[in-house]
Structure formats: C-alpha cells, structure tokens
C-alpha cells in the first residue's frame, strides 16, 4: 500500500462520478489544443502567402496614393534614400526585407518604358515570383529579423554564388528587362540597350508576371539616381513585414520613425490575416475561460462531493493515525492525476482533431505540435490542483469524530 495506490484505487472505485469532471477538463483541453494547433499553421500559411505576394508595406511620399503606385509605380514626389538607412538602423522588429526604388519614365527605341532603379538583393528577395528566371532563388529572411541591405549599408559577407550574382554582379551598366518591354523593343539576354544616354547589358529577361513589372526595365538604383539627375532620392520603399509584427503595430512604428512619409499596408490581405488571428485568439480566450470556469467548477464540485462522501473513510484513516498532511496529499494527488490524464488525453484528441479537420476547416495542412503537450498538461494540472485545493483542505480539517455515527 502506498499513497498513489490508495488514490488510484479510489478513482477506479468511483469512476462514474469522476466521469463528468474528467470530460469537462478533457474536452476543454481538446478544444484549446485543436484551436491553437490550427491557428499556428493557419498563421504560417498566410505568412507564406504574403511572402509570395511580395511587399506588404509601402513607404511612399506624402502626396502619393496607393492607386498611383500600383497603376504606374511612379510619383512626382520623392524622399531621401536616407530613410532606408533610418529603417535599417532602427530597432524595429518584423522588417523582413526592404526594397528601395526610384522609377522614371524614359523612351527606348521610341517606346515608353518605366526605368526602375533597385538595390538588387532586396528587390529579388521580395519578388518570389521572379524565381522562374532561374538565377534569383534567394531564400526569404525569417520573420522578425531586422532588414539588411548589404549592398549599401553593410560590408559584404561570405555569400553563395547565386546571392553574389544578384547583389554584386548587377553593376551600373547591367539591366533586367520585363517581359513586355523585351518583346516590345526586341531584346534578349546579352543584348545592349541604351537608356538615358547610357548603354546597359541585358543580364536577364524576366518571365511574364502579369504585373506592371512586365513593362519595366530594372537597373541599379544608383545608376538611375545619377542618370536622372535626381540625386540620392527614392520614391518608394517596398517592405516585407512579418504578419505578426504588422498585427502588433509595425506600420504605426514606421510612421513614427518616418513622419514625413506615407506608410500603408496591403490592407486587404493583412486585414484578413489580422481578423483571422484576432478571431482565433478570441476563440482561444473564450475556450480558456470556459475551461477554467466549467472545468474548474466541475472538478471543485466533484471534489467537495467526494470529500463529503468519504468522511467516514477519512475519519477512519485519522483514527488509525493519518495526519492532516496525508489527507491533503490524497486529494491533491487525485487532482494532479485528473489534470495529468485530462491534459495528455486532451492533447492527443485535440491534435488528432486538428490534423484531421484542420485541412477541411482552414484549408491548410496541420501537423502535430509536441510543444502543446506541455501547455495542455500545465493548464489542465493547474486548473485541477487549484479546484482541488479547498476541498482537500476541508478534508484535512475534517473532524475525525465523523467516523462514529453517534457523534
């Protein structure tokens, strides 16, 4: 005989009475684990989609509109390139990439084309869709990293061949040509092309994207600044921001840092994500409150009834020499076991539910998250122990005379 055995045997003796409170905690944990699991993969999926879309935050001159930007990618107004430095040197978290741009209208062989100056690495990191060109397969930066623009602000580090081609080899006389422009003026890889009185070598013709990028010619930002005579200015910074950081107010922080610029998000996409996240967070909170109230109340109620029912047994144990601490341990251990089994069971069923129904409910693949087992067990055990505390204390303080019917 030992304490665990005593508790375990009692649980099995009265398992039917225990079933309701066990179900309350078990199903509550199941629901929370399932929601958290699906939410995690939902957020990841949307973040991936946002990465594929490219920039989700735009920094524009005050006078520009988002419509202007997306229709022609050009505004009359500009702002200093120094803004990029300010962003890079700031301690803002969630800036995964920065892509400063300066666009000017030019004519090539009698055709109107948009000449866009870029800082190559950042530009191609953002444009995942251009990877089809075969030479620009840069990996996306992890969410939450402060942006880097090594070409301009950081000494070169050891980089892959692919990365070097993108960053280092796009020299002042090299150009990338959009698909429509290439077809319009009839150029191919390796051809020479003249713009603003300077000759550029076509490094690559970009594949069709179906966006305004198809009617652009990309050269180095500093070449555009020099040839257009505008100096160190830009007229847009495209930012890939981490979704969670955007939800947490990244746009407002950038606005504060750059008060003379207009900071906008690709609102439709980000708002959907924010709404989804908020809905999931609210749902999770609601279930948390329900499980604490219903699960906790159910366990406390069961424990009080259990103590009342076992008064004679407790009195007998006390008569045989059991101290109040042993009685306390008996009921707390019971609560602990209840919480442990409920937490582990809830984690397993919640995970099975999330993996099975996640694809149908959220349209995403969901994988088990082992870290949630700690969370589930911690929550379940915490609730069970707190709910058992008062009944256990009452049991420990029980008058042993209850053993005798006459008294």
């Amino acid at each position: 005989m030992h304490l665990r055995k005593l508790v375990w045997r009692e649980i099995f003796e009265r398992k039917n009475q225990l079933a309701t409170s066990f179900l309350a905690i078990f199903l509550g944990i199941t629901a929370i684990v399932a929601i958290k699991n699906i939410t995690f993969y939902s957020e990841k999926a949307v973040a991936r989609e946002l990465d594929a879309l490219g920039a989700n935050i735009l920094v524009l001159p005050k006078s520009a509109t988002v419509q202007d930007y997306y229709s022609a990618d050009m505004q009359d107004d500009e702002f200093p390139e120094e803004y990029v430095t300010m962003l890079t040197m700031s301690d803002l978290q969630g800036l995964d990439n920065l892509s400063p741009k300066l666009s000017v209208p030019i004519e090539i062989r009698g055709r109107k084309v948009t000449l866009t100056g870029i800082l190559p690495k950042s530009e191609f990191q953002v444009k995942g869709m251009w990877e089809g060109a075969g030479i620009f397969s840069l990996p996306a930066e992890g969410c939450g990293n402060t942006a880097e623009v090594p070409d301009a602000f950081k000494p070169p580090v050891e980089e892959t061949l692919v990365r070097k081609r993108v960053i280092d080899d796009l020299g002042d006389n090299e150009a990338l040509v959009g698909a429509d422009v290439a077809a319009l003026i009839g150029v191919q890889d390796g051809d020479d092309i003249e713009a603003l009185g300077e000759t550029f070598i076509v490094t690559a013709v970009l594949p069709q994207t179906g966006t305004v990028d198809d009617s652009r010619m990309f050269v180095h930002l500093h070449a555009v600044q020099r040839l257009s005579g505008k100096g160190p200015v830009i007229n847009a910074i495209e930012i890939v921001g981490c979704c969670q950081a955007i939800s947490a107010g990244l746009v407002q922080k950038i606005n504060k840092l750059l008060p003379d610029a207009k900071v906008v998000t690709v609102t439709q996409v980000v708002d959907t994500q924010i709404k989804t996240n908020h809905m999931m967070a609210s749902l999770s909170t609601v279930f948390l409150v329900i499980i604490v109230l219903v699960g906790g109340a159910s366990i406390a109620n069961y424990m009080y009834a259990n103590v009342f029912e076992r008064r004679r047994e407790i009195g007998t144990l006390m008569a045989l020499g059991a101290g109040s601490s042993l009685i306390l341990q008996m009921f707390l251990l019971k609560g602990l076991l209840l919480g442990l089994v409920g937490g582990i069971g809830g984690y397993i069923l919640g995970t099975v539910f999330a993996v099975t129904f996640g694809p149908r409910l959220a349209g995403i693949a969901v994988m088990p998250m082992p870290v949630l087992v700690l969370w589930a067990v911690g929550l379940s055990v915490g609730i069970a122990l707190v709910a058992s505390c008062l009944p256990a204390r009452n049991a420990a303080r029980l008058d042993p005379c209850a053993t005798f019917q006459e008294v």
Partner: protein
C-alpha cells in the same frame, strides 16, 4: 496509564447546550479490560473518543502514560494514535475499495513500512483471524463477521498497547459476537488494555472492570451488578 481528570463535554444543539459527559474521573491501568455500558446517549462513545484523542473535552484533561493528550497538536495526537491506540468500530469502517489484505496494510503504510513488509505482516494477521483464504476479497465480498475480523486484524497491525472498541459486536450475530469477544480476551491476555463500549451484557461480563454511564455521569462498579439491569 489512561487517566481522565474532571472531564466534561458539552455540545451546542441548535439553541440549547447538551452535556454529553460531566466531570468524569477515570483511571485505567496497563492491561486492564474495561467495558463501558449505559443507555443510548449516556456519553459512552464520547468518553471512548476522548480516550482515543479524537475529541477534545470542554473541561478537564486526559492523560496517557503521563502525557496530556489534548496539550498535543492534532498531528501529534494522530502520531500518538498510530503508535499506541487501535480502534474497532461497530460498522467496521473498512475502506470499501481495498481488499482485506490492503485494509490491514493501512496502519503499516501509515507507519512507513515497506510495501513487501506490509503485505507479509497483513497476511499473517489475516491468517491469525482465520481469513487467510480471503486476502484479496473486498469488504462487500465478505460476511459481516468476516469484515469485523478484518477490522480486528487491522487494529493489530501497529501492535497497539490500547484497543478502543465501540460496540464491536453490535452488528454481529451472537455466535460471531462471541468469537470477537474471545479474540478480545486473547488480546488482553497478551497484555493489551481493552476498553469496550457495549450494549451486550454477555460481552460486558467478560471485562474485568465495568464503567457505567448514566446521563453523562460515570459510575464505577462490577459488571455483574451493573448488568443485572439488562437481564
């Protein structure tokens, strides 16, 4: 060994005070065999509980081997009971979800004995009371007589010097009751002090000393004279 000095116990029942025991002065020596008799509600069980350290008096003191029982903390009293006192209950008070041998193991578990030792000792005790073939039976699977014998085996597990029994034959048929009293005789011959509350005149006659309680007052006397009233 057991001494009560001027012990009284009063309860508040709704608006009126009820005196269960008044100014009791009792002395019992080591190895005594005492029966406590009296009508229902006369304070027999109250006196027994006080001797066992289970119920504190309103007034007076209870001494065991010179130590004042109610000057101890509740946990000290529990530890004292564990070492020195065994209780036998009218309704046996076996733990319903444990087997016979596990019930007998409880005092040994409380005393911190190793589980293997518990099992061996409990088995020996159950064999002593004639239940060697019922070790793994639950109380509900035993007759009332067998249940009381399990309770007797349990009371012996911590080898108590004092055994306090509250109506030990109250729920038993005469033959089984006689067997239980025979067993008490045997335990008393081993040198244990037996204090037994009973309504059964034949059981009370077996004690060497009888205390009679009437409306909370203790009267000393011999069993024969007191039990004459039951005949």
């Amino acid at each position: 060994m057991l001494r009560m000095e001027g012990v009284s116990k009063s309860y508040n029942h709704r608006t009126s005070a009820v005196t269960a025991l008044r100014d009791a002065n009792v002395r019992m020596n080591r190895g005594d065999y005492v029966s406590i008799v009296g009508p229902s509600g006369s304070g027999k069980s109250t006196l027994l509980l006080m001797l066992g350290g289970m119920l504190s008096p309103t007034h007076g003191r209870v001494f065991v081997d010179g130590a004042s029982l109610y000057d101890m903390t509740p946990n000290e009293r529990a530890a004292f009971r564990k070492k020195n006192i065994g209780f036998v209950f009218q309704t046996f008070n076996l733990v319903p979800y444990l087997t016979a041998v596990e019930n007998v193991q409880i005092p040994l578990f409380l005393a911190g004995k190793d589980e293997a030792v518990q099992r061996v000792c409990a088995t020996e005790l159950l064999e002593r009371v004639g239940l060697g073939d019922r070790l793994d039976h639950k109380p509900s699977e035993l007759s009332v007589g067998q249940q009381q014998r399990v309770a007797l085996a349990r009371v012996l597990a911590n080898d108590p010097a004092v055994i306090l029994a509250d109506e030990p034959t109250g729920n038993l048929d005469p033959e089984t009751g006689r067997q239980v009293i025979d067993f008490f005789d045997e335990l008393n011959e081993e040198g244990r002090t037996i204090v037994m509350v009973t309504h059964d005149p034949s059981a009370a006659e077996r004690a060497r000393t009888t205390l009679r309680l009437v409306e909370g007052t203790v009267l000393n006397g011999k069993a024969e004279s007191i039990c004459a009233g039951y005949a």
